[in-house]
């Protein structure tokens, strides 16, 4: 297998063929923020938080899907990128009803972590205050669409790992929503196995365990990589990294 040598932020790194820029960056502890990306699931490339600059191109590239080529020069944290990432989180904050103080995942939320990471101290866009629905018909779980960032991790984990494909997206643009089956109450969905994977991988408080009170709900998205590895490579032991 050939090895590719390329530069990230002035330092040289090597990548195996097929590695993405994000994988190499993660392996070498270079921080690139992500939201829709989750190890173990297919890449979606939609949150645009991981965009990086590549020398010689005026465009920005998502690190999660872009593969390095020999002697490529990548920049991951220029002022422009920082500004854009901050703005993307700002847009998300304005889009949903994200009131951390009263949210089940307060303190364990990836959106909240991102807001700290990009130093989002205020939002310049008017809040849209959507009136989306909350579905508590499932016996164990709840979906509050007002907290959803449409990363589709739940859609992908349900389709790719649990193979049930309960979730998908309805609507278009700002009206997009995650729906169960053909838009029926989650609790009545005949395809849902109640495995709870979607709840574990959801980065925000949109999917949560029934009965969780403010700040109580802890997510556990790392286990998906363990499941996928166990299936594909027959590695049955969880590493500390995956439990992070």
């Amino acid at each position: 297998m050939s090895v590719i040598t390329f530069t990230i932020d002035g330092e040289q790194y090597s990548a195996k063929e097929g590695d993405t820029i994000l994988q190499v960056a993660r392996d070498n502890k270079i921080p690139i923020p992500t939201l829709c990306y989750l190890e173990g699931l297919s890449t979606f490339g939609a949150c645009r938080l991981c965009v990086v600059e590549i020398e010689g191109s005026p465009k920005l590239f998502p690190a999660c899907t872009t593969k390095p080529t020999e002697s490529m020069v990548v920049r991951t944290s220029t002022d422009k990128l920082k500004k854009y990432r901050r703005m993307i989180v700002e847009l998300l904050a304005s889009e949903g009803n994200h009131q951390c103080a009263v949210c089940v995942v307060n303190g364990h939320c990836e959106l909240q972590d991102l807001a700290y990471e990009v130093e989002l101290d205020h939002v310049r866009f008017p809040y849209l205050f959507p009136k989306k629905s909350l579905d508590a018909t499932h016996k164990d779980f709840v979906i509050d669409r007002n907290r959803c960032v449409l990363c589709t991790r739940c859609v992908r984990v349900c389709h790719e790992v649990e193979a049930a494909h309960v979730w998908d997206i309805a609507g278009r643009g700002i009206d997009c929503e995650i729906i169960a089956d053909l838009n029926q109450p989650w609790g009545t969905s005949p395809s849902c196995t109640s495995c709870g994977k979607c709840v574990r991988v959801c980065p925000t408080g949109a999917l949560f365990d029934k009965g969780a009170a403010v700040g109580e709900m802890q997510k556990e998205s790392g286990f998906i990589k363990f499941i996928v590895n166990a299936r594909n490579k027959h590695e049955w032991v969880r590493t500390a990294h995956e439990e992070e």
Partner: protein, 553 residues
């Protein structure tokens, strides 16, 4: 069917047409249908019957005659004469006087030496007003399927691609990617199955080029696709047409059936080993499905959402197989290139953008319609010579080229040459060929708001910058139009536009802010005049922002 059979068919049809002294070609495209060409058709038929002239003339429904604003249009081959604003009474007079007595109906005649016609160069639209849109025989009589025959019997696939490359044909869907290069990548791809796809999901407001080609000359597109199939080694083609084009879909269905019946599509075409079939896929009304990766997903029956490129469709397209995807107009150029040679095509237009481009002119212009001009023509010529300029009493302000993704070109850039590179220097783009003329009765902020509303409605919602960004762009423009916005809002709008343009996933989001960016660039005063003076003592924070969160030390 052999090549000899094809030529025999062509001669037979030419002889049949020669029997008539006059051919009356009424425009049967959607534009003239809506201005009442059915009544004209019925009256023509009735009059011909009553005056017993059916041996002297035949009546044919043809493709778009161009001057859509003056429809219904009727063309009489003897003369030749083009009649405008034809109603039932005029139709009867055309039959009685022109056909019956050889006298032209002066009241409805259009001067064919007018710059509207003289400045045009027709390749894609060459059969409009010449052939019956629903007759394969008439297409064959006009050298139709001759190029496919030549490719299959005289050329190897590499030679076909080399001809297209030498001709310098670039994608007419807007981006201008070299067609030959795209085909070459697909040809070199190793796979058990390859596909050819035609993008007929034309959705830009005011654009109707592809619709007119499909309605007026569907076989030209089928022939181009079959040649592409032979060149890249594909045996299956798909045409993705939007459901809003029912007439185009009907004509395509008829055309495919006719071609299959004659063995011009199907197995062993021209007794070669080449098999090719074409199926139609009908869109469900999403503009974003004009984006190639979303279109391919829609063809496969999935949700029409773009995905990250690479891999490009030429490597992994339909069902992950190498797929050629081109626009209607691109395929329509293929047959003439093979028929007349790459040198002929390369000599038309400019060196970097050879050939012609079809434009649909609409908006505040005297003569809206469908035109085809050589690349590199001055914009001024298109708008004033061909389009006739803006209506009396108004002044030209801007031309909006490239649909909602395009930009506005102001008066000072009227002498710009229309080709891929030049248009980009002023922040517009070739796009698929929609051109909306705007006069001084329109406010540019409202124009920008209109296009941004379109983009917001059509955003698929996959990536955050486009989904939420287009919403905020629209809301801010609305605020400016209402006179409620401050300078801070305006600055934030500009910042947001650049971010959405640079970070969005697909072409829709990347170009959605273009309308705002270009109007801000050329018509900044119109924005500034609508802004509120910022209130005294305003902090650095935007008025619309919420209570700021105190940052932790």
């Amino acid at each position: 069917m052999t090549v000899e059979d094809l030529r025999e068919l062509a001669e037979k049809e030419q002889a049949r047409q020669a029997e008539y002294e006059h051919r009356i070609l009424y425009c049967s495209s959607a534009g003239c249908v809506s201005s009442g060409c059915d009544a004209v058709k019925n009256e023509l038929k009735k009059a011909i019957g009553e005056l017993d002239l059916s041996k002297k003339c035949e009546m044919i429904g043809t493709g778009c005659l161009g001057l859509c604003g003056e429809g219904p249009l009727v063309f009489v081959s003897s003369g030749p004469t083009l009649y405008q604003h034809v109603d039932a009474a005029a139709a009867r007079r055309i039959v009685e006087e022109h056909i019956g007595q050889g006298k032209k109906v002066k009241e409805n005649e259009i001067d064919l030496n007018d710059p509207f016609f003289a400045s045009q160069k027709k390749i894609v639209l060459e059969n409009m007003g010449k052939i019956n849109a629903e007759s394969i025989e008439e297409y064959i009589a006009a050298d139709g399927y001759e190029a496919l025959a030549k490719a299959l019997t005289e050329m190897i696939p590499e030679e076909v691609i080399s001809e297209i490359r030498k001709a310098g044909l670039r994608g007419r869907g807007g981006a201008g990617y070299p067609t030959g290069l795209k085909w070459d990548i697909v040809r070199k791809g190793v796979a058990d199955q390859k596909y050819v796809v035609c993008n007929a999901d034309e959705g830009d407001p005011g654009a109707f080029m592809d619709r007119s080609v499909l309605e007026g000359d569907p076989h030209r597109v089928l022939e181009g696709m079959a040649i592409a199939g032979y060149a890249v080694g594909a045996n299956q083609g798909f045409i993705y047409v939007r459901a809003e084009y029912p007439l185009a879909i009907d004509r395509l269905k008829t055309a495919i059936k006719q071609a299959e019946r004659l063995g011009l599509l199907g197995n062993g075409i021209f007794e070669s080993h080449f098999n090719f079939r074409i199926d139609i896929r009908i869109g469900a009304g999403a503009f974003v499905c004009g984006e190639e990766t979303a279109l391919l997903r829609s063809v496969m029956g999935r949700r029409g959402r773009p995905k990250v490129r690479p891999p490009y469709p030429s490597e992994k397209g339909l069902w992950d197989k190498p797929t050629v995807i081109n626009n209607v107009e691109t395929y329509a150029n293929v047959a003439p290139i093979l028929r007349n040679g790459s040198g002929w095509f390369a000599a038309i237009g400019t060196q970097k953008s050879p050939g012609t481009k079809v434009f649909a002119i609409a908006g505040n212009v005297k003569r809206p319609g469908l035109i085809e001009v050589p690349m590199g023509i001055a914009l001024r010529k298109i708008i004033f010579d061909i389009g006739g300029g803006t209506p009396e009493g108004t002044k030209f302000k801007a031309a909006q080229a490239g649909g909602p993704s395009g930009g506005c070109i102001p008066t000072e850039h009227l002498d710009i040459l229309v080709d891929y590179e030049s248009l980009q220097t002023v922040g517009a783009m070739m796009g698929s060929g929609g051109m909306i003329v705007i006069d001084d009765t329109s406010n540019m902020v409202e124009v920008a708001k209109y296009f941004s509303e379109f983009c917001m409605d059509e955003s698929c919602g996959k990536c955050i910058p486009c989904r939420v960004g287009t919403k905020h762009i629209y809301m801010m423009l609305d605020k400016i139009v209402k006179g409620e916005a401050t300078e801070n809002d305006f600055d934030l709008l500009k910042e947001l536009c650049v971010m959405v343009k640079e970070t969005s996933l697909c072409g829709l989001g990347q170009s959605a802010p273009n309308g705002v960016i270009s109007t801000v660039r050329f018509f900044k005063d119109e924005y500034l005049s609508k802004l509120k003076k910022s209130a005294e003592g305003n902090t650095h924070l935007n008025e619309s922002s919420s209570v700021p969160v105190v940052k932790e030390a």
